[in-house]
């Protein structure tokens, strides 16, 4: 208890405590990226030359406007075919530099997503990624499952969205308002956004799934605040009532000299019959850097609120950040992200553990955020490749065949949800 000390002095000492020197690794990462990071040049107008006349400036402005309007006309597709960016060879670098996107090589005659007969529709988040895997948030988008008919949804910023089983509603995973992360629900077209009024003093929430009948949501409650038990809950999709704690007992946080790791759970998905859920659980490592040596498993538990979770993918094999598991529509398999940045399959009883072979033909890759098609014959996921330095959505059969790109923008797409089209 503080009684005779000056709070302002304490706060000042705390805020001044910390590093002041840029680590050499960061300095090298910056400087080695410069040669591959192109500087943006403007129109090159000599604005500051004192001898330039006003009339010359007006002429230059008019020329610039004409170029701009002409460019918009040409590149918007109104004035002709869209011009694809030229492939660029990229030297390896300590950090992903700013690059011109390089598409994965596709043999001539290969099918496109439009040729696959994909049904239903998808929603996904998009990021502008000038120099990193995840860049600035652009927005939430919807499209047909083959990537056509793309449109932006006018909804609050969220890291993901999930289509309801009947295809009529969207669950926005974690919009931030009033200093809290809380789920929103909206119509499938993004209209009629309503925030679920969560009772009690819960910490941040991240919701990731609908029950098969569309009446309940699956959410993880953060452990940053200790007012309520952190863990995985189900709750009413209409008014956030009837909170039911399905899994608690999150692993403890561990402090090291370099990092502090916060163990915990991440909500995954309901089984197709609604009787069980799967979720991620992360255990912290030991030593100086417990976050770096943390391990993640996939667990399943029934939805009664009285079950004991059982491990179906062993600790250390699952991806802790973006490997959230999803149940196949027929209930026979679960797809998830592997710790080594590939996709895996497992049966709900923990047998049949297998890797989905992803062959991009383009070197290093990172596959994550998988989701099943409504008919269970395809898996859509996010794929980052070293060659392209960005992420796109792809589909693949569960046996790894017919890998095909769905989104072809110049940005990063992430967190796909695939649902049936609303009647």
């Amino acid at each position: 208890m503080i009684t005779n000390r000056d709070p302002n002095a304490i706060i000042a000492a705390w805020i001044d405590d910390g590093p002041f020197d840029l680590p050499d690794t960061t300095r090298r990462a910056i400087t080695t990226s410069l040669p591959t990071t192109q500087q943006r040049r403007g129109f090159g107008l000599p604005w500051r030359l004192p001898q330039m006349s006003t009339s010359l400036r007006l002429i230059l402005v008019a020329a610039a406007l004409a170029l701009t309007v002409g460019g918009i006309y040409l590149f918007s597709g109104v004035g002709g075919p869209r011009i694809a960016p030229a492939p660029t060879t990229v030297p390896p670098s300590a950090v992903p530099p700013t690059l011109v996107p390089t598409p994965i090589a596709t043999p001539a005659g290969s099918p496109t997503a439009a040729d696959l007969g994909l049904t239903g529709h998808i929603v996904f988040t998009r990021y502008d990624s000038p120099s990193s895997m995840f860049g600035k948030y652009v927005g939430l988008y919807a499209a047909n499952a083959d990537g056509t008919g793309e449109r932006a949804l006018d909804v609050p910023e969220t890291d993901g969205a999930f289509i309801s089983p009947d295809g009529t509603q969207l669950l926005l995973a974690n919009p931030f308002a009033d200093n809290k992360f809380r789920p929103d629900v909206a119509n499938i077209d993004g209209s009629n956004v309503r925030r679920l009024d969560v009772p009690g003093k819960f910490g941040g929430m991240w919701c990731s799934g609908w029950s098969p009948d569309g009446t309940r949501l699956l959410c993880k409650v953060d452990s940053d605040q200790s007012y309520q038990t952190p863990g995985v809950y189900s709750l009413s999709a209409t008014d956030a009532s009837d909170f039911k704690l399905l899994a608690s007992g999150s692993p403890p946080s561990v402090k090291g000299s370099k990092s502090e790791c916060s163990g915990g759970d991440v909500a995954g998905d309901f089984s197709p019959d609604g009787t069980r859920i799967v979720f991620l659980r992360q255990w912290c490592g030991t030593g100086d850097d417990p976050a770096a040596t943390s391990q993640t498993a996939i667990l399943a538990v029934d939805t009664t609120g009285h079950g004991t979770p059982n491990e179906i993918v062993a600790r250390g094999l699952a991806n802790g950040a973006e490997g959230a598991p999803h149940w196949s529509p027929d209930g026979s398999q679960i797809v998830f992200g592997l710790a080594d940045r590939d996709l895996g399959l497992v049966r709900p009883d923990g047998t049949g553990y297998a890797r989905i072979p992803i062959d991009t033909g383009a070197g290093e890759h990172y596959a994550f955020s998988p989701e099943w098609s409504p008919d269970g014959t395809w898996i859509m996921f996010t794929l980052w490749t070293a060659a392209s330095q960005r992420s796109d959505l792809y589909v693949v059969h569960p046996d790894g065949t017919d890998l095909t790109r769905v989104t072809k923008g110049g940005s990063t797409e992430d967190f796909v949800s695939w649902g049936v089209s609303a009647p």
Partner: protein, 183 residues
């Protein structure tokens, strides 16, 4: 000297820009760490800010405003880092680099814990204003320029942040409420 370096870097001189990194990198890192409370995310934010600075530098008309402009890029990079990682709640939670024991007897472990928790509950916008004012020592008008909001908003954010942190160390029992298990 800085102005000349900025002018050279603006023309594409990588060596000049590297010298700018050496000149301003430490301060940027210190600011980013204090906003994000995480060494790795702070490094990412600094890297992002400098790479954007390099890319956009030809568009900076007044080299004398480089430092303010760089701080603006840095604060925006911190905002993005915060958003980018908010879903990764299982990731690193930072500790002060000197370790829990600290180097100043005025700062006890309980103070650190309470302040860290209170600070994490602030939005990145509030954190940025607090750090720029109390750590960097920027006047409110300059902060308003850096973060791109009116000076009144800066005052309001500063007041809110300071009040929250003071409350954290004034009321230790605030976090000792019993857990309530939902029905």
């Amino acid at each position: 000297v800085t102005t000349r370096l900025v002018e050279r870097a603006r023309e594409g001189d990588e060596i000049a820009f590297t010298e700018l990194v050496d000149l301003f990198g430490g301060r940027c890192y210190a600011i980013a760490y204090r906003i994000l409370r995480d060494v790795e995310r702070a490094q990412d934010a600094v890297q992002q800010a400098f790479l954007i600075a390099w890319r956009e530098l030809p568009r900076l008309r007044d080299p004398d405003r480089f430092e303010t402009w760089l701080h603006r890029l840095l604060v925006n990079a911190c905002y993005e880092e915060h958003r980018r990682y908010r879903r990764w709640s299982l990731r690193v939670r930072p500790l002060p680099v000197d370790g829990p024991a600290g180097r100043d007897s005025i700062l006890e472990i309980s103070d650190r814990d309470q302040l860290e928790r209170a600070f994490r509950r602030l939005t990145p916008e509030h954190r940025a204003v607090f750090v720029l004012h109390h750590h960097v020592g920027m006047p409110l008008a300059v902060i308003a320029d850096v973060v791109g909001v009116p000076e009144g908003t800066v005052k309001s954010r500063l007041h809110h942040a300071t009040k929250s942190l003071r409350a954290a160390i004034d009321a230790d029992d605030r976090f000792d409420l019993p857990e309530v298990r939902p029905a």
